[in-house]
Symmetry: C2
DNA sequence: CTAACGTATTGACCGATGTCGATCTATCGG
DNA sequence: CCGATAGATCGACATCGGTCAATACGTTAG
């Protein structure tokens, strides 16, 4: 998808309908928690752009199932991708996904000389 | 503030701490609802960049107190600003606020040649 | 095969949040 | 003043969502 906050589809200057808004809100929801923001931040700043789940529990200060849960939310939202290597799980950011969120926000810039 | 997902403050390649993540998550939380995404979208696409609350209830398909509530959330988050004119309330987007969210996401781009 | 280990899943608990009807507040028209 | 109107606030309700202990699952080591 490529939902933006205005001028999408056929009609210029058209606001999002409920379905588009729901889709976009889902994306924001995935980022609407401090634990997940930190996870994303840590993964993004990790060497080689990836991080092992085993290295994420301690810095987050939350129980292992909780961290696993948040990682799943980010993966389900398409913001992170998971790769299993042996008994470890490695996570990477999906730049295109974040770019699409940015694009949505671009569309809220001041009216382009109406 | 200007919280970003990496390389902020003194240390390069540093992830967000809990406080910074909480602050950023609050911003995402304000956008993590379809009703609020639509409100932002409608206001952003309105003539002159502003919209009267009286014109927001019907298109949202929610009760007036509900709409008022969501508008307040967006205002509290600094994403919209409210101006009372007579007995009407007008809302405008705060572009700098959305720009700061965009900046946060910029920081998650692929590692800059480590 | 079995034990140990890293993760994911389940179930329960509880606070946060979206929703609406009713009401309160403020402003305008007469 | 008085009634009407726009909007915010309150109270109640139901659902959602973050959290953890316990446990299940899959992989590696011996």
């Amino acid at each position: 998808m490529d939902a933006i906050l205005r001028c999408c589809g056929t009609d210029r200057g058209r606001a999002l309908d409920e379905a588009q808004a729901t889709e976009l809100a889902e994306l924001f929801k995935a980022l609407a928690d401090p634990a997940r923001v930190r996870l994303l931040s840590i993964v993004a700043t990790s060497e080689g752009g990836e991080a092992c789940a085993c290295d994420l529990v301690e810095p987050l200060g939350r129980a292992q199932p909780t961290v696993s849960h948040h990682l799943s939310v980010l993966v389900d939202a398409g913001i992170l991708e998971r790769e299993k290597r042996g008994r470890w799980a490695w996570y990477r950011v999906v730049p295109e996904r974040l770019a699409s969120i940015r694009a949505s926000l671009d569309a809220t810039d001041p009216a382009p000389t109406a």
